[in-house]
Amino acid sequence: MPDPRIPSAFLSLRADIERIEAGGRAVRDVLPFGVAAVDARLPEGGLRLGALHEVAGGGGGAIDTTVAALFAAGIAARTRGPVLWCMARRDLFAPALDLAGLAPDRVIYGEMDDDKSVLAAAEEGLRHGGFGAVVGEVGRLSMTASRRLQLAAESGTSLAVILRRWRRQADAADFGQPTAAVTRWRVTALPSAPLPVAGVGRARWFVELIRCKAGECADFELEACDETGRLALLADLVHRSPAPPAWSRRAAG
């Protein structure tokens, strides 16, 4: 979506660079989130297909990778075709992915021994190009490894999602290291939607776009994936001004 504040010279220059980077290949498609506020911050109006995207959990989610996994499942659910999900730890519970819109018939799981084979299997899946999305759960992701994945993804239209999952909280500092990913997301759980009665409402996420190639960082407060994998703006924010997040309230008090 072109921004009126950006001079047209920049836009044409950017298009030129993109053409050079694409190396003669056709301009690729994107997968929009379907949430206008999020898509507007992404330079192409959505997640670029045939590119590498990185997702990590914030806070305690850096180790459990629960919210981030659902975020990735929601993205994968909105692609077309089968999904390859490679992991080195076998605690993913398929019914939860089904609830995020990823039907069990679409997902092929690959249980690997270590991060290295997860990356190799994901790369193999991307090179084939028959998958709608390829998800890999790894801890460390070096520049070289991510570059390989990015090149493999560019050869097709599969969406590559790397879920960063560290063994220790201290390792999560690794997320600051540069990789070849096109976008980089961090997803943290927010207090769930308030209900008029006792109970737990729809989950809410604080979604940070930490890095975005040819775009700016942004953060959003969103409602978790529904049964078709779609995110939504907070229902009480659509009509009201945003409330400060819980931790800033606590810090002020």
Binding site: G57, G59, G60, G61, D64, T65, T66, V67, A68, A69, L70, A73, R80, G81, P82, R90, D91, L92, F93, A94, P95, A96, L97, D98, L99, A103, P104, D105, V107, I108, Y109, G110, E111, M112, S117, A120, A121, E124, G125, H128, G129, G130, F131, T188, A189, L190, P191, S192, A198, G199, V200, G201, A203, E227, A246
Partner: protein, 474 residues
């Protein structure tokens, strides 16, 4: 079994029941009949046995390994190097062999070791069922076995017994020169073969109906590129042969006959019959790096021990349906590279107990169309086994106010539940009264947990009211 040994009629084989009556092979038939009046004796048929063993070897060739040979009178020998991964590892391969033979009514024992001699000895004298000797360790395991295990002539075994040799370990440490002088070169040769000091090539079984192509080289080849080039040529020839019969390969064996009389082999498997030259070449070339050409390869053989009918099918039968990418190819590539059991799909199973609600199916299985019942919260990470938590719960049927998991205490802000799941008494008697009450908890840091309490809080038989954490929603 009674057969003829020299001029006498002897017992040649006896089943477990007969051995219980102290009948043993080598005993005179008349004596056996005297010991057991109602003895059921069959005439031995050595030729029939040999033929049956040959057929069994072909069966092994089709299912397990590119190099299989009969090891008469009562065994098979398989070279599983480069083939065990297709069955999910060496132990799984042995278990599968024994299962299939048991189902077909044969008593079987099997062992995997570094050498043919060691595997022969371990399977017959050490294994109860299946035994996998760790690599490099079979020499040590051999030392405790009786000398009969060495595949020696009975006279040699008797002679050694008279000299006081009982175990292989004693023989291995004895001076070789005098042993060779007394018993001939056979004894030291068998010892060396068992301990891996001298080579013992396996002459693989072949059958005329096996589809295979062979290429012999004037000069030994060894460079990886050369091997890959000839692999392509062999695949082309094999595919032509397959096409003539309307078949597609399910399993491919590529054997490299080295100049030092060893055969290096590898096997690749595919989920559906394939006759695509590019794809098969790719699968084979991916594994070329596991082949050691040694001083050179003088012949290569490519065979399709398992082939199934493959006919041309229309590409698309419905113009309106979206094109579905064929992922069978990439699944085959991945499976051959990383192992067959690693890739799977899941399908809902008929169970409310969370850990039983999922069953694995083959990645290329047709879509089931089934989904889990929606509307019930399910965590994205399910712990392998529930972990005990210490809780503060107001009343027996209220969710906890706070709980301690892995050493940290969390205060519950919101909670939802219970979702009651009853034990499945038709699976286990102990679950007749069992009840789990599942709660969804959200703590101060907005992390969500799936915990359950054993028991319904009213009847002690339903559970002991202990609390467990089973999953994380995030």
């Amino acid at each position: 079994m009674i057969g003829r040994g020299g001029r006498q009629r002897l017992v040649t084989a006896a089943d477990a029941a007969a051995q219980g009556l102290r009948l043993h092979p080598g005993m005179a038939a008349a004596q056996a009949r005297a010991l057991a009046a109602d003895l059921v004796a069959h005439d031995a048929d050595p030729q029939g046995d040999a033929l049956a063993l040959e057929r069994l070897a072909l069966w092994g060739l089709r299912l397990y390994s590119p190099i299989v040979a009969a090891d008469p009178p009562d065994g098979l020998v398989l070279d599983v190097t480069g083939a065990a991964h297709l069955c999910g590892g060496e132990a799984a391969l042995l278990a599968d062999i024994i299962d299939r033979l048991t189902v077909s009514g044969h008593a079987a024992r099997a062992a995997i070791a570094d050498t043919w001699g060691a595997a022969h000895a371990l399977a017959r004298f050490a294994a109860r069922g299946a035994l996998v000797a760790p690599a490099g360790d079979s020499g040590r395991m051999l030392t405790g076995l009786p000398i009969r295990a060495l595949r020696l002539a009975p006279e040699t075994v008797d002679g050694l017994g008279r000299l006081g040799f009982d175990r292989i370990g004693e023989l291995a440490t004895a001076p070789r020169a005098s042993l060779a002088l007394r018993f001939g070169p056979e004894l030291t040769r068998r010892l060396d073969q068992a301990f891996g000091r001298s080579a013992e090539p396996i002459d693989p079984v072949e059958s005329p109906e096996l589809i295979q192509v062979r290429r012999v080289f004037a000069e030994p080849i060894g460079a990886p590129e050369t091997l890959a080039r000839y692999t392509l040529q062999l695949v082309e020839a094999l595919c032509a042969a397959l096409e003539g019969r309307g078949l597609g390969a399910r399993v491919l064996d590529l054997r490299f006959h080295r100049v030092d009389n060893r055969i290096e082999a590898m096997r690749v498997g595919v989920a559906r019959p394939v006759r695509d030259i590019k794809r098969l070449t790719r699968l084979l070339c991916d594994r070329l790096e596991t082949v050691d050409p040694g001083f050179g390869v003088e012949a290569m053989t490519l065979a399709a021990p398992m082939a199934e009918p493959l006919d041309w099918r229309p590409m698309a039968s419905d113009l309106t349906a979206p094109a579905v990418a064929d992922i069978g190819e990439v699944i085959d590539t991945l499976s051959n590279r990383f192992g067959h059991r690693r890739f799977y799909r899941v399908a809902p199973a008929q169970s409310d107990v969370p850990e039983r609600a999922v069953r694995k199916i083959a990645p290329t299985a047709p879509p089931t169309g089934e989904r889990w019942p929606s509307g019930w919260p399910r965590p994205v990470r399910l712990l392998a086994r529930p972990e005990p938590i210490a809780t503060v719960a107001l009343l027996p049927d209220q969710p906890p106010v706070s709980f301690t998991w892995r050493g940290s205490r969390r205060r519950v802000v919101r909670a939802d539940g219970p979702e009651r799941i009853f034990g499945e008494w038709w699976r286990r008697d102990g679950e007749l009264d069992a009840v789990r009450d599942y709660f969804q908890l959200e703590d101060e840091a907005s992390a969500r947990f799936w915990v359950f309490r054993r028991g319904d809080g009213e009847q002690a038989a339903t559970g002991d009211l202990s609390w467990w954490l089973h999953g994380l929603f995030g």
